[in-house]
């Protein structure tokens, strides 16, 4: 089989056997895949630091069912700005783990690839903003087909006008005030800003106020957890470094 080249982001990596490394890559062309890089353990020079978590690389590989085989990798960026900031590292780890856990193998998802690389670039360039995390999550869910429906109650179907008081259901659904009596409130501002997140593709275009950030956060955390069977490791770490 002929090797091909594709852009990729390293989602996970671990040393394997004598001197190899097994990596999970999110490639632009082939989607998520697992591959083995012979002689890539950090002691060896061949791949250098290219196979570290969240590195952006240009990879040469033979795509196979199961385990692909990596021939070489050029570093596009190791995101030095992220590696200088503990919260940025935590958030970058969270973003790649989220993609790793949600995305099935071998499903090319270029929109998600662009979203993830934009988020990593954003984290690399400056102070990590909580609004950006929520922007990433809202669009992440949307791209994978779990869009949060903002204008109808997920339970009774009643239409919710812009000014309506919404509630967060147990698994991150939007409910009307009567169906979601015991749910956390999602005010009109938070709902409007979440809508804006989905309407624009640009990081930095949406800034949440502290209150709307809390409300949107509760909703998104619930929506993300709803589709996972066990909690994300990176989330445990994020909570340890940003107690709130």
């Amino acid at each position: 089989m002929e090797p091909t080249r594709t852009e990729a982001i390293v989602l996970a990596a671990m040393d394997y056997r004598e001197s190899d490394r097994i990596v999970t890559l999110f490639t632009l062309q082939y989607g998520k895949l697992r591959g083995v890089a012979k002689g890539a353990k950090r002691s060896a020079r061949r791949f250098g630091p290219a196979l570290e978590p969240f590195a952006r690389i240009d990879v040469e590989l033979v795509v196979r069912e199961g385990l692909s085989s990596l021939r070489g990798a050029d570093i596009v960026t190791l995101y030095p700005g992220i590696r200088r900031d503990l919260r940025a590292i935590g958030l970058a780890g969270y973003a790649v783990e989220l993609v790793d856990r949600y995305l099935p193998d071998g499903a090319p998802t270029p929109r998600l690839f662009r979203l993830l690389s934009s988020y990593l670039e954003r984290l690399d360039q400056g102070e990590p903003l909580p609004s950006d995390r929520r922007f990433f999550e809202a669009n992440f869910l949307n791209i994978l087909g779990y869009r949060i429906s903002l204008d109808h109650c997920a339970s009774c179907g009643v239409e919710l006008p812009a000014t309506a008081e919404r509630r967060a259901g147990a698994s991150g659904m939007i409910l009307c005030a009567s169906c979601g009596r015991y749910g956390a409130s999602v005010g009109p501002e938070a709902a409007a800003l979440l809508g804006r997140c989905l309407a624009t593709g640009r990081f930095g275009a949406v800034l949440f106020s502290p209150q709307s950030l809390r409300e949107a956060g509760t909703l998104l955390d619930g929506a993300i957890a709803a589709h996972l069977t066990r909690p994300l490791n990176s989330l445990v770490f994020l909570k340890q470094i940003e107690p709130d």
């Binding site: 950090r42 200088r84 503990l86 590292i89 490791n233 445990v236």
Partner: protein, 197 residues
Amino acid sequence: MLQSSNSFARLLAELQKLPGVGEKTALRLAFHLLKYPENTAALAESLGEVLSRVKFCSICFGITEEDPCRLCSSDRDETSLCVVEEPQDLLAVERTRAFRGRYHVLQGALSPLNGVTPDRLRIAELMRRLEGGAVREVVIATNFSVEGETTALYLARQIKPLGIRVTRLAHGIPLGSDLEYVDAATVQRALEGRSEL
């Protein structure tokens, strides 16, 4: 023949648990061990000895036969403390002869993606040592991998509020590399050129 021998198969299996040893290497090593029985007996004895005598120092968590270890009970500079991931990294820094202080071995590095959180490392023990008050500077010599950088930044955040200077090995060590594989001269330059974290 040999392959069907239980003890030989077990030896192969045990050898393959060693880092860098695959099936072929294990077979080569095993035949070598059989060919030189005196050497093999000496090796077996030394393995037993290591198991019964070598342990982790209760102060720095490096490997030692006496507790506390030679470095911890020496008259080395108590005001500066070098923090490394593994005992072999301690040796890498010692080889430079450029560091006169003491050590603390974390026995790993933070790896949020793999669930290695601060409580899994010897960080609480480090903080207790620092509360003793003698240390004025902590030199962080974790690897330059994402895990090593994460650990360095996390430690800096924990330690700085104590009013202790925190520095990080700097020049010449490429992003992504493991300390134990970097040559002594480069580690020495990095030590001398350490920068504030």
